[in-house]
């Protein structure tokens, strides 16, 4: 049963690590803005400038 001493130590250490990570995230401002990232994730990553001369197609009006 003595292994429990070790397990408790590990579980506490793990929890403290998460707490520390949360602090760091909070300090770096991750929780300041909870809307913009949800839009940002939908942007396509930009292909490099190679397709520059390709003519733009139809208007995007409905």
């Amino acid at each position: 049963m003595e292994v429990i001493f070790l397990l408790i130590g590990i579980s506490l250490l793990l929890a403290v690590t998460f707490l520390f990570l949360f602090f760091r995230a909070n300090k770096s401002g991750q929780f300041d803005d909870d809307y913009t990232p949800s839009v940002r994730i939908l942007f396509e990553s930009q292909p490099k400038k190679s397709i520059k001369d390709q003519p733009k197609k139809s208007k995007s009006h409905e």
Binding site: K27, D33, F43
Partner: protein, 809 residues
């Protein structure tokens, strides 16, 4: 409003989506409404950023009204200004945050975050959509601040830099700290629960004594961050209250925390029992959760803005050497300044030019410009419409007629201390009662059993610790705040709900609050208008952006406009047009009419003439907001109603007739008069609600118990206030006030509920019967049931008052 689909498609601007009626610029098979929009498209096309137009259709804002003056940003070269605007600066990089009101869609975010593709010296940019802010990082050796702003402006995203940006900023830090404290409390609470488990189950005996000791000591260790860090706000607040010889909600909380902590220490170290550390962690966790819920109101809205948020940072000064753009702070009395079309008058000053036309919508809510002549005094806060004018500064910007309001003592007062929150008053009584009971229990047992006396004394303090009591207020008010927000009524913080519940006097500002510019009444007097003349007038007013033109256009909405050959708008004067070789003039008397005439009634006059022969005039009076009579009628039963106005008094009779007889009117009120009026009412012991919309109401809004600013665009302009009301929701004011009263009742009811728990717990505690298990069950149960009760009750009341709808949330 239904032209055929094809023309509609062709005439919409590709950039901003507005109709291209006045001007049509074609470029790359696309149509644009002005050169500005085309220019933005060109820049984006060159840099391969046309995805901007794919994310949303017509995502831009019209560039028509954009100022094109090259030197308007010169003040950004001033080292003092640069220093104050920057967030951070080292040898290479500068970081700056701009407020850009134009941000409104996904395309905006995308473009602003891809700025580096246009200019490689911009290292990065990050948009905060909710606050409409963008943080830019750029290499300041290659790109100056002014060039950065120029680039944004070229793309149609000119940042709004106002005087208040130069003051030091410290926001958001509070919220972050509370979040950290919540995390600590949650972490400790969770782990302490785990280590307390063996105490509740007899099977844990199997683990042996060694484990039990270890768990208890771990609990002590984990309780330290909770007591020392997570609870620190409560100590501070309680200490402040005690120093002022009052008792707020935090005093019994701190007593409870202290009793719980010390008693548990004594139990663990002296008695070898488990203590109540897990309950302590849970208490703080729930308390902080309620606090966050209350704090997290409306990030996008700012409630504490003063005139500085609206005044420009720079003005154009005319000196011997010519024009120069200087920061406003460097402006001195006697300086001559140049104010161009659409620019703000920075300080009280005298007009040097022959004529000016000043729009005071900013200050009074009335959007029709006022004509001024040479030598007249012009108050700060007005906006020039028309040709550039010269002014001599008479007073420094902070001492002007309008801005002087902020030097009034009302603005120095700490935030409204006039009313003590309900919870504080109850907890004052509560604290003393609990202490008395504890002492009585202690002295009762002391004769027979000392250890039992100590135990009952502390358990009384622990059980009576008002966790349920103190949670009912934040959760009720937090939820009420959310429901108000759904009805488009945004309160600054939860204490406003409580103050709102006690209101017995409502004071309205007239212009812009009771009246609505869009709802103007128009009378035409003169020779009858032929259908053809009407068509000409419609054609003329369609070309103008003047507010009076807009009203006439609405009045003529069922008329088709005539094809005019030549239309010329002279700002501040009127419109001249040629139709079938006849010259039509529409505008001020000097411009359009020859006749002298005495103005008998208030309101605005627009004259019409052909070939210098008078046809007649339009008499335009601002009309009441559609729902105003209904709102006044509903309120008149329960509230004392007042109307304040800066205008002359001749509208009283017609207003009184349209609204109701029970109104107290006061006309000809200056901003300071309004403030004093509210002060007088407060002295009489009334609880006042002020509804206003302009900067001239700022004093009254500040002085009243609850100041509500009405605005058409919530995130745009509103003076400092306790709450912001979307003009759309004006008709719901009676419902809002009723709901505020309901929430007060709900708080009282939940107090009753938690008192029941307390009496039950106390009666056991006095007898020394309370076991740790029972204590551990009773505490969270009472808290949770109170939270559930208040949430359900506020939602129910919100539905009954019509503020939230079940079908479409």
């Amino acid at each position: 409003m239904n032209p055929d689909f094809h023309t509609q498609l062709r005439s919409k601007c590709y950039h901003c989506g507005e109709d291209c009626e006045l001007e049509l610029v074609s470029f790359a098979e696309k149509s644009f409404c002005c050169q500005g929009c085309k220019l933005v498209y060109e820049v984006l096309a060159q840099n391969d950023l046309c995805e901007y137009y794919q994310l949303e259709s017509s995502p831009g804002k019209s560039q028509k009204a954009k100022s094109k003056l090259a030197n308007r940003l010169d003040y950004l070269d001033d080292p003092d200004v640069i220093k104050q605007l920057m967030d951070f600066r080292n040898e290479r990089e500068s970081h700056v945050t701009f407020y850009i009101p134009q941000i409104h869609c996904a395309s905006c975010i995308w473009l602003l975050e891809n700025l580096f593709q246009i200019n490689a010296t911009i290292v990065g940019s990050r948009v905060d959509f909710v606050r409409k802010k963008v943080q830019l990082k750029f290499l300041h050796e290659k790109l100056s601040l002014k060039e950065t702003v120029n680039l944004l402006s070229l793309l149609g995203y000119e940042p709004s830099i106002s005087l208040s940006d130069l003051d030091q900023k410290s926001k958001n830090a509070v919220h972050k700290k509370t979040l950290s404290k919540l995390a600590v409390a949650g972490f400790c609470f969770g782990n302490m629960m785990l280590f307390s488990m063996p105490e509740y189950f007899s099977e844990a005996e199997l683990l042996g004594e060694g484990f039990k000791g270890l768990f208890d000591y771990l609990n002590v260790l984990l309780s330290l961050p909770v007591v020392l860090y997570a609870a620190s706000d409560y100590y501070l607040s309680a200490w402040n209250a005690v120093r002022k010889r009052t008792a707020n909600m935090d005093v019994p909380i701190v007593l409870g925390i202290a009793a719980l902590f010390l008693y548990s220490l004594w139990e663990i170290f002296m008695q070898g029992n488990a203590g109540y550390m897990d309950s302590l962690g849970g208490l703080l966790f729930f308390l902080l959760l309620g606090k966050i819920y209350q704090e997290k109101a409306f990030a996008a809205l700012e409630f504490d803005r003063d005139y500085k948020a609206y005044f420009p940072v720079a003005v154009t000064r005319i000196s011997k050497d010519g024009e120069e753009v200087i920061p406003l702070i460097k402006l001195r009395v006697g300086d001559v300044v140049l104010v161009r079309d659409e620019e703000l008058i920075p300080a009280d000053s005298m007009l040097l030019s022959a004529k000016a036309s000043i729009d005071y919508s900013f200050v009074t809510g009335e959007e029709v410009p006022v004509p001024k002549r040479k030598g007249e005094l012009i108050y700060a806060g007005g906006r020039q419409k028309g040709d550039p004018i010269n002014l001599t500064i008479q007073k420094s910007p902070s001492q002007s007629y309008l801005t002087d309001l902020w030097n009034n003592e009302s603005f120095d007062k700490s935030p409204k201390q006039l009313l003590e929150p309900l919870a504080n008053r109850i907890s004052g009584v509560f604290t003393w009662t609990v202490l008395a009971i504890a002492v009585v229990a202690f002295s009762f047992w002391i004769g027979t059993d000392v250890s039992l006396a100590v135990k009952s004394f502390t358990t009384v303090l622990i059980v009576a610790c008002p966790c349920a009591l103190s949670m009912s207020t934040p959760f009720t008010l937090g939820n009420a705040l959310r429901i108000f927000g759904k009805g488009k009524f945004y309160l600054k913080n939860a204490s406003v709900v409580e103050r709102l519940a006690l209101i017995d006097t409502v004071v309205f500002d007239k212009t812009g609050t009771l009246t609505d510019p869009a709802n103007a009444s128009i009378h035409y007097l003169g020779e009858p208008l032929l259908a053809e003349t009407k068509a000409v007038v419609k054609g003329m007013v369609e070309r103008s952006t003047h507010p009076l033109s807009n009203r006439i256009r609405l009045w003529l909405s069922d008329v088709n406009s005539a094809d005019l050959e030549q239309v010329l708008e002279m700002k501040g004067e009127g419109i001249e047009a040629v139709y079938k070789d006849q010259v039509f003039r529409l505008g001020s008397r000097d411009f359009a009419s020859a006749k002298k005439m005495e103005h008998v009634e208030s309101g605005n006059y627009v004259f019409l003439s052909t070939e210098r022969v008078d046809l007649g005039y339009f008499h335009i009076q601002s009309g009441l907001r559609k729902s105003a009579p209904e709102v006044v009628k509903k309120l008149s039963g329960d509230f004392d109603l007042h109307v304040l106005s800066g205008d002359q008094g001749h509208e009283q009779e017609s207003l009184g007739r349209q609204l109701s007889a029970d109104l107290h009117f006061s006309f000809d009120q200056s901003p300071v008069d309004k403030l004093n009026y509210l002060k007088e009412l407060n002295h009489q012991g009334q609880n006042t609600l002020m509804l206003g919309d302009g900067l001239n109401d700022a004093g009254a809004l500040q002085e009243s118990q609850v100041g509500v600013a009405i605005t058409d665009r919530v995130s745009h302009f509103s003076p400092a206030s306790d709450a912001i009301l979307d003009a759309e929701s004006f008709s719901k004011i009676p419902a809002f006030l009723g709901f505020a009263r309901d929430s007060r009742l709900i708080i009282k009811a939940s107090f009753g509920l938690s008192f029941l728990y307390n009496i039950l717990g106390l009666s056991l505690a006095i007898q020394g019967l309370l076991s740790p298990v029972l204590c551990a069950i009773l505490m969270p149960l009472s808290s949770i049931s109170v939270v559930v009760f208040t949430t359900l009750a506020t939602n129910f009341m919100g539905i009954r008052k019509g503020l939230i709808h079940l079908n479409h949330p």
